[in-house]
Symmetry: C2
Subunit: 396 residues, 2 copies
């Protein structure tokens, strides 16, 4: 299964190289047990200890140059038809292979904008420049970010099915949480419950266990990207949880919101309902505009603008990101035009990409309302990948 | 525990900065869930999503600049007394902090020679140069490799105790393997047995499960760094296993060799004994010379030279590496003067470092003999961290 998916993505990569008029894509790595290029899992399928070069050309050639001790391992993984092993230095084989292929442009695994296209460390960049210094190839290096963005973003049918299954599993845990939430238990206890259940099912979390799930109860919670605390759930709290599981290497990422009824209440107070509905509506409005050719910031502006227009504070993060083998995946995102997001909010949305939509607002005195849904981009719009949260979940 | 160990290493880092006459050590990262600087676990203790700068000065100041959403998380981790949060761009806070500290030299997390000091991606290097372009600081950047090598290499007392415990646990699994080895089972079955036992004990493997343990039985095995195969153990095989477990974040890494007696044999044939004894002796000879001030290649040459002088082929890897939070850790190694090892065989051996010694040879017709021991460097020599393998283990 893993090998077939790698071959599928390698073929897609060669097509993308042709489309973008790039001759060669070079992924240059070492000691990937310590620091791993995020593309290796998708296009190689194993680790490398010594200086290693993984090459895919627009003609579909695939060549791996690895330390001689790792040739047997590469052969058993069987994702590269041509494997070259070296003993003392990668230089000669790498230079000779480049001379043979003679690429006019070489996309290399670095990028200012996209972390997933930026697996080349600066030390390895210096090594590469040194290796190529007496050749014309050192001057032909460009960023591989366009290739990586397209390859990770455009999901194959196989990938889409895995993503759907991952979301389905994720929602199962949200349902279980709805049943166990009750006043008196802490954020940490909720998180421990979820992690225990995931472990029992033999699955992995989508991101670091420290904040997967994140659980926030009541007013005055820690910010997003904080771990759960000993804060206890109380009546009158708005609770929300941010969580995802991996299924066969593909991540889900969803958020849901609950309200804990106070004595005598049968529904949430108007200000809580209003906050929840603003979130729900901002997702509907932005999803309605999400389609190929739009830029991420345009979609962000719709969701963000609606939240702000309703008198809430602007949320300090993007409206959505792509999801795939990593929770934060792909190239473009639905983000605001802030420096810290570089060029990614300006990348056009493409068919086959999967985005989260996750606006956020604080309901003063009650807590944080968020919903996070996942959508797949279609020919002329987008489709939700699971039933949406349309009602606030009430805890008695 | 984790926090105390981080504070201990941060203090050691400040002392090393002073010793090396470097004003500031800057670790610059982003999206560490995707690609993680290998130093974060040791000096920060959590992840970072947006452009983040972790700074330690020779005066002992520790300043973290992170995205505003992650300030609460950094506060709860509590390893940096000064935490600065930014909303849109890291630039202003980073430049202002540098102006305030005004360092003459800034060690940054990149290195040609040392992967563990090379967590800065090339894209992030370009970002950093851009951020600093109107300041004098862009010209003051040097590699942090000397700091990282010293900090990871020189183990504290606490670290040494954890390393010893890790080795003790590791040997327990070797003992269990000695009891279960028998003709007819495959390399994969041995590996699965070990992994199952480690899982039952709630521990983690020292390196990737693909080849932890590596198991090689008989002649014509795959090379080192290959995963176990379906090859079955037979009488007359030399078997060896390369394996390690992590204990509280610290790795062990050992190898042991067995021989499967043929019908009628009560001991291994002379050529097997000879191969085993050459390995054992080459470890004794090299360990006897291992002490502060020697260079790694000098020790490599002793072990390698002894194997070659006895008529065996030269092994295609270094004689030993440092061990710590990673299996391949620290700066210097006991490696030959080959291009692929860069400057690391030339780094002086220091007190408190922990090295493996792991020569290797092929006994034609029988299999591979290896022993891997771990030693800690003392004031004037080195000490083995566990009982050595002095006898070939015989399987009936």
């Amino acid at each position: 299964m893993q090998k077939e998916m790698i071959l599928e993505k390698q073929k897609q990569a060669a097509d993308i190289l042709k489309e973008k008029n790039i001759d060669l894509w070079l992924t240059f790595v070492r000691e990937t047990g310590n620091i791993k290029d995020p593309m290796l899992e998708m296009i190689v399928g194993t680790n490398a200890t010594w200086h290693s070069a993984f090459m895919i050309t627009s003609k579909g050639e695939r060549i791996a140059i690895v330390g001689s001790l790792e040739v047997a391992n590469m052969e058993s993984v069987a994702t590269f038809p041509e494997i070259i092993g070296y003993l003392k230095s990668v230089k000669e084989d790498l230079v000779n292979t480049l001379k043979r292929l003679d690429p006019k442009t070489i996309a290399v695994n670095f990028s200012r904008n996209q972390p997933l296209a930026d697996g080349l460390t600066h030390g390895m960049y210096l090594e590469l420049k040194e290796i190529l210094k007496d050749t014309p190839y050192g001057e032909r290096l460009i960023s591989s970010e366009e290739i990586v963005a397209a390859l990770r973003g455009r999901k194959s049918e196989t990938e889409l099915e895995l993503m759907k299954e991952s979301i389905k599993l994720c929602l199962k845990y949200f349902d279980e949480v709805t049943k166990m939430l009750t006043p008196g238990i802490s954020e940490k206890e909720v998180a421990e419950f979820v992690q225990k259940r995931v472990k029992e099912d033999g699955l992995e979390l989508s991101w670091e266990a420290e904040y997967c799930p994140s659980v926030f109860t009541g007013p005055d919670t820690a910010g997003a990207h904080s771990g759960p605390t000993d804060r206890k759930i109380q009546r009158g709290h708005v609770i929300n949880m941010d969580f995802g599981v991996k299924y066969k290497g593909y991540c889900s990422d969803l958020q849901r919101t609950w309200y804990v009824l106070r004595d005598g209440e049968t529904e949430a107070p108007p200000e809580v309902m209003r906050g929840f509905n603003v979130i729900k509506e901002s997702i509907s409005l932005s999803a309605a505009q999400l389609r190929p050719g739009k830029m991420g910031w345009e979609i962000d502006e719709i969701a963000r603008g609606y939240v702000v227009a309703n008198g809430y504070e602007e949320y300090p993060h993007g409206t959505g990101h792509q999801v795939g083998k990593h929770t934060h995946d792909g190239g473009g995102m639905l983000g605001p035009r802030w420096d810290r997001y570089g060029n990614v909010p300006y990348l056009p949305i493409e068919k086959g990409q999967i985005y989260t939509i996750e606006p956020r607002l604080t309901i003063p005195g009650f807590g944080i309302a968020t919903i996070e849904e996942e959508v797949v981009v279609t020919e002329d719009g987008c489709k939700f990948l699971s039933p949406r949260q349309t009602e606030l979940y009430l805890i008695k």
